[in-house]
């Protein structure tokens, strides 16, 4: 019995260490943003918001932040509409064409984002678009945001009681009215979650944006990357802290609405 308990304790120590490894860089980024000194040291040199002030005064960082938020907002709307329509379609069809389309929808997540960025850059050039910018980024981001919407909304739709839609139709509602009055209210949680995932995916994307960003159209991650190649102070940590705060909010929201584990394990 003693040996079993020791084994169990040993196992738990190992898993706690792994979770610590997973969270360490995030904790470090937040500490670094709140630290008074230029370099994070132990013991820390006290709390300060000076890096936040620096960030707020930096025209390039604030410009990129605004651009990233605007881009993510547009992409969220586009991806949520396209993705929700596709999920509704997927629930009602079957056969080989359905599986082929499912693969095609997920494909942009399975191929390297950097490669998709290259392919789009070359394609836009072939079309004769001379400069990359907002439109290119919207297209590129939509490709990688739609799969999340389809996966999440699809999971929610699959759990729905189909007889409710049948009942509405039998009571005389047309397909559109049934959608507005029955399907939409029932899948609202899933659609919001899908939209939230799309927003975060776009806001944090680096790979697609790398080659598609242009003059005056630089998303925050690209701006940070350029900055980090040549300098090293805690200003990027501020952007990281904002990103981590957004993520924390998202996790709480999704957990409230449908439960994160429902996304991966099917039902709750």
């Amino acid at each position: 019995m003693q040996a079993r308990r020791l084994q169990r304790i040993g196992f738990n120590v190992v898993t706690v260490a792994i979770y610590a490894f997973l969270l360490a860089p995030l904790v470090i980024v937040v500490l670094s943003a709140l630290n008074a000194g230029t370099y994070l040291r132990f013991p820390p040199q006290g709390l300060s918001v000076r890096w936040f002030v620096d960030f707020a005064h930096s025209r390039s960082f604030m410009g990129s932040l605004g651009f990233s938020l605007r881009l993510a907002a547009i992409v969220t709307v586009v991806a949520t509409i396209l993705g929700t329509m596709a999920s509704l379609w997927l629930t009602r069809v079957s056969g080989r064409f359905r599986s082929a389309l499912q693969v095609l929808i997920i494909a942009p997540l399975a191929v390297p984002g950097v490669l998709t960025g290259i392919a789009l850059l070359l394609f836009f050039y072939t079309l004769g678009w001379q400069q990359t910018g907002l439109a290119d980024l919207i297209i590129g981001h939509t490709l990688i945001c739609v799969p999340y919407v389809v996966l999440i909304v699809g999971a929610v739709l699959a759990r729905q009681d189909k007889t409710l839609v049948e009942a509405a139709r039998n009571l005389g509602a047309g397909p559109l009215r049934t959608f507005w009055r029955v399907t939409l209210p029932l899948s609202k949680g899933g659609i919001i979650c899908g939209a939230v995932f799309a927003f975060v995916t776009s806001y944090d994307d680096f790979n697609i944006s790398l080659l598609l960003s242009g003059v005056g159209a630089t998303p925050l991650p690209i701006q940070l990357f350029d900055y980090l190649r040549f300098s090293f102070d805690p200003t990027p940590a501020v952007a990281g802290t904002i990103s981590i705060a957004i993520t924390a909010l998202v996790v709480l929201l999704v957990q409230r609405l449908i439960g994160l584990d429902a996304l991966y394990f099917g039902q709750k």
């Binding site: 190992v14 969270l23 995030l26 379609w89 009602r92 957990q255």
Partner: protein, 291 residues
């Protein structure tokens, strides 16, 4: 009296109107995903030029010059090696937490799941930056080592840093598929093995591990693909000392402006990666059938 309308059944065939739902997305994916990739393959078969992005003349020289170059093969090998190393470490680190997650009650599982997914939602750049603060020569880990009287370690701008960063970023992609297959294994099976006299290790090795193999395969393939195609991590944690295929491809395209050459390299590496995965899946299939 009006005749009652026929009752609607969901099993009936979808209408033409229903198919309109997929048209917009299908159009976007065809025009902005399938066509650009085809276009890239086409450009990889065109002549490079100093004056234009490419000259529309067919050639396979972009491929032959890559294949003949020892430098290219060195970079390819190194990239694949980093991918294999990352995948192996990810598997070892992820399996215990996947098992724990799958066997927890639904409350604990939701909490553990949040801990695994949350880092995934924070962009890769931010997480890499966190590792830069930790791993630098004057970083947190070396400060702690020095404070404890150990010699500092060189953890960044080399393979060590790149593999640490890659492992960290891709752990969730290993944990989730493995956890979902373990969860679908009936816990009674483990119990039965234990009751028949197998120790915990033996029952794990003979029951849980073989049954969770589909999840392991999915996770390893996913992590390998993501690891070999990563750009930010080798660039920031490897500096100029770690050269991988994506770094070299981006350099060729956006700094040397050799689009046909860069495209050819990307296509070549894509094919090599696919072959590696095909070979891996086939080998595992053989081994499990033989066992």
């Amino acid at each position: 009296m009006r005749p009652a309308p026929a009752l609607v059944r969901m099993s009936r065939l979808p209408t033409v109107g229903h198919h309109l739902l997929i048209v917009p997305l299908l159009a976007v994916l065809s025009v902005f995903f399938v066509v650009p990739y085809a276009n890239m393959v086409a450009i990889s078969l065109m002549e490079a030029s100093h004056r234009a992005a490419y000259v529309p003349v067919f050639t396979i020289s972009n491929y032959t010059s890559l294949i003949e170059s020892r430098f290219t093969w060195g970079v390819i090998w190194h990239t694949l090696w980093l991918g294999v190393l990352t995948t192996a470490i990810c598997l070892v680190v992820s399996y215990p937490i996947a098992w724990q997650m799958a066997r927890a009650n639904s409350r604990t599982r939701a909490a553990l799941m949040t801990l695994v997914i949350a880092p995934l939602l924070v962009g890769v750049l931010i997480r890499t930056y966190g590792w830069m603060i930790l791993l630098q020569d004057s970083g947190i880990i070396n400060q702690l080592l020095r404070a404890m009287g150990f010699a500092p370690l060189h953890l960044m701008y080399n393979d060590t840093g790149v593999v640490i960063g890659l492992t960290h970023v891709f752990i969730p992609f290993m944990v989730l598929p493995i956890a979902s297959t373990i969860q679908s294994i009936d816990p009674e099976l483990e119990l039965a093995a234990r009751n028949l006299g197998a120790g915990p290790w033996r029952s794990f090795r003979r029951v849980v591990l073989p049954l969770s193999l589909p999840g392991v395969m999915a996770g390893t393939v996913l992590v390998f693909v993501l690891a070999v195609s990563s750009y930010v991590i080798p660039q920031l944690l490897g500096g100029f000392t770690v050269l991988t295929v994506p770094v070299l491809v981006i350099h060729t395209i956006s700094e040397l402006f050799n689009w046909p050459g860069g495209s050819a390299f990307a296509v070549l590496f894509f094919v090599i990666t696919a072959l590696v995965i095909w070979f891996y899946l086939r080998t595992i299939g053989r081994v499990t059938h033989a066992g």
